[in-house]
């Protein structure tokens, strides 16, 4: 990888990625960062304490963990329409994930990502929450619709 990837000021190292996953849908800028993975859903309203920047719904598998600056890898978009505004509001306070990767996504999270300028990929031929380890360093290229794992 030669180009700089947006990663909270970091620059992705030139390295070899032995594993590449391909998505059917992509949006946003190329980013490089650390994953936070769970086989669970995502709703900005239902699941997050957006002030603290952590998952707050007790039953969520990431409850208590910070999502700020992470590449979230989750099963599906859930819940109501509020996330369409909330991602932009979170962006305005720098309390956003770096990117969100879903097995399946609903329009609300896509609309929110469009307004909040958050990188997003969705639609894979395998369960992306199983294919990507928690804490892995990955590069997301929405134009190519790829995730590259170190």
């Amino acid at each position: 990888m030669n180009a700089k990837a947006r990663a909270g000021g970091r620059v992705a190292p030139v390295t070899f990625y032995p594993k590449v996953l391909r998505a059917r849908h992509g949006m946003g800028q190329r980013v490089y960062g650390e994953t936070l993975v769970a086989k669970d859903g995502f709703s900005a309203r239902y699941d997050l304490d957006r002030i603290a920047g952590v998952f707050s719904r007790p039953a969520h598998k990431l409850a208590g963990q910070s999502y700020v600056g992470k590449i979230l890898v989750l099963d599906t978009a859930k819940g109501g329409v509020a996330s369409a505004w909330m991602l932009a509001e979170m962006r305005s306070r720098d309390k956003v994930p770096l990117a969100i990767i879903f097995n399946t996504v609903n329009p609300i999270l896509v609309q929110g990502a469009a307004l909040g300028e958050i990188t997003m990929l969705a639609g894979f031929d395998q369960d992306v929450t199983q294919a990507i380890p928690n804490g892995a360093m990955v590069e997301i290229d929405p134009d190519a619709r790829t995730i590259r794992l170190r």
Partner: protein
């Protein structure tokens, strides 16, 4: 996406900066989903409470509203979901002045854009229901699932920015539930349970929502043994959408696209059975405490008939806990006129209008009022409020009213 000449002109900025911004947003979303073109829509419905918008969202609306008159007005009837307060009762909720100020700024901006501030999530009961085959751009998942399923209309979940964009352009990208191919059932549910109470209808919707699990799943349900009421399907759909992000279901023999199962059956449907045990298990999972701090009826806003029933239950009682009943600005005057509001408030309850409880800074008002354990008959609300620090409990309207009197759920 393929654009016609008018859409190309909007994108080029020939109709002004506001339609340009709106259609740019719509093209981004449409291209993500592979939409081939736009479809004209007849109505838009915007969810935009200020807890969701935040200061940044309100500033964005004000930026749109500050553009030249004549270039910023919605092109189709465009209405709003509940606000984040009832302006006449914000003090009672102990909402801070800044919350109310932010709401007023959002309202002022929307009005400059030509949006009608209906402030309701039950517009299909109170404003204008969409009809079979009508393409609309509705926000609020409960509105979308009801309109798609019960009315046979065609909408995706349109979040605030997209619904406003649809209002400003008069169209929306043609993907998802605007297309026949996504409206066929992917999940077959046979149920032996036709609920009686609204909380049971909500719980059944929640169970099916969990089985579905994502936006693209379309359940078809067999076994409902009578025609449900609008209020029953309101709670059923709202919960299904909340628990599962579901936007469309069919009831075989009941809803308009499913006269027969074969009309909607997909090629390879997953199959499940749901009975009374599953409905009770979902409700039981929320029964973690007997003590209650506050009783709330909201999400969706109450219809006139729900308020009528609540008034009957309130007669002759005196509450020791706050009881909040939330309805739409369209229903509230009739509730006042028919004496329902007076009867509920004589017992110690309060009827709010134009807001929804969970959209009204639920975390902050919980802290300000000392509320944690909340009883409600809304399955949708119990699914949401856990994330706001509440211990929500799901019970019948009758048991919730009893809890307002005794302080405990039976």
């Amino acid at each position: 996406m393929k654009l016609n000449s008018e859409e190309s002109a909007m994108l080029a900025g020939e109709l002004g900066p506001v339609p340009k911004l709106a259609i740019e947003h719509q093209v981004k979303v449409g291209e993500f989903f592979g939409a081939r073109d736009f479809v004209p829509v007849t109505q838009a419905h915007i969810m935009a409470d200020t807890e969701s918008l935040g200061e940044s969202g309100v500033k964005w609306l004000e930026m749109l509203a500050a553009t030249r008159k004549g270039e910023r007005t919605v092109r189709i009837p465009t209405i709003t979901d509940p606000r984040g307060t009832d302006f006449t009762k914000a003090k009672q909720l102990k909402q801070a002045d800044w919350m109310v100020d932010l709401e007023r700024r959002a309202v002022a901006a929307f009005e400059k854009l030509g949006v009608s501030m209906t402030d309701t999530c039950i517009n299909y009961q109170t404003v204008l229901a969409a009809t079979k085959g009508e393409h609309v751009a509705f926000g609020d998942t409960g509105v979308v699932i009801y309109s798609n399923s019960v009315c046979g209309a065609r909408s995706n979940f349109e979040g605030g920015p997209s619904a406003l964009s649809a209002g400003l352009t008069g169209r929306t990208p043609r993907y998802g539930f605007h297309l026949d191919k996504h409206r066929r059932a992917t999940l077959h549910v046979r149920t032996s349970c036709t609920p009686e109470s609204l909380n049971d209808w909500g719980a059944l919707g929640g169970v099916i929502g969990r089985l579905a699990g994502n936006y693209w799943d379309v359940p078809v349900i067999e076994g409902i043994d009578r025609a449900p009421t609008s209020d029953e399907l309101k709670h059923f759909g709202a919960a299904m959408a909340s628990f599962g992000s579901v936007a469309l279901y069919h009831l075989a023999g009941i809803t308009p696209e499913a006269s027969r199962l074969a009309d909607v059956a997909g090629d390879s449907m997953r199959r499940h059975r749901v009975g009374r045990a599953e409905v009770e298990a979902l409700q039981g999972s929320y029964a973690v405490d007997k003590k209650v701090d506050v009783v709330v009826f909201s999400a969706p806003q109450l219809s006139l008939f729900e308020l009528r029933r609540l008034a009957e239950l309130c007669d002759g009682r005196k509450f020791r806990l706050p009881l909040l009943a939330v309805t739409s600005p369209q229903v509230k005057p009739d509730s006042d006129r028919f004496g329902y509001t007076r009867r509920i408030e004589a017992a110690g309850g309060t009827v709010f209008a134009g807001m929804c409880f969970y959209q009204s800074y639920a975390r902050e008002i919980a802290e300000a009022n000392g509320w944690k354990r909340l009883a409600t008959n809304s399955a949708k609300m119990v699914n949401i409020l856990g994330g706001y620090g509440y211990v929500p409990m799901l019970a019948s309207m009758e048991d919730c009213v009893d809890a307002a009197r005794t302080g405990r759920l039976a």
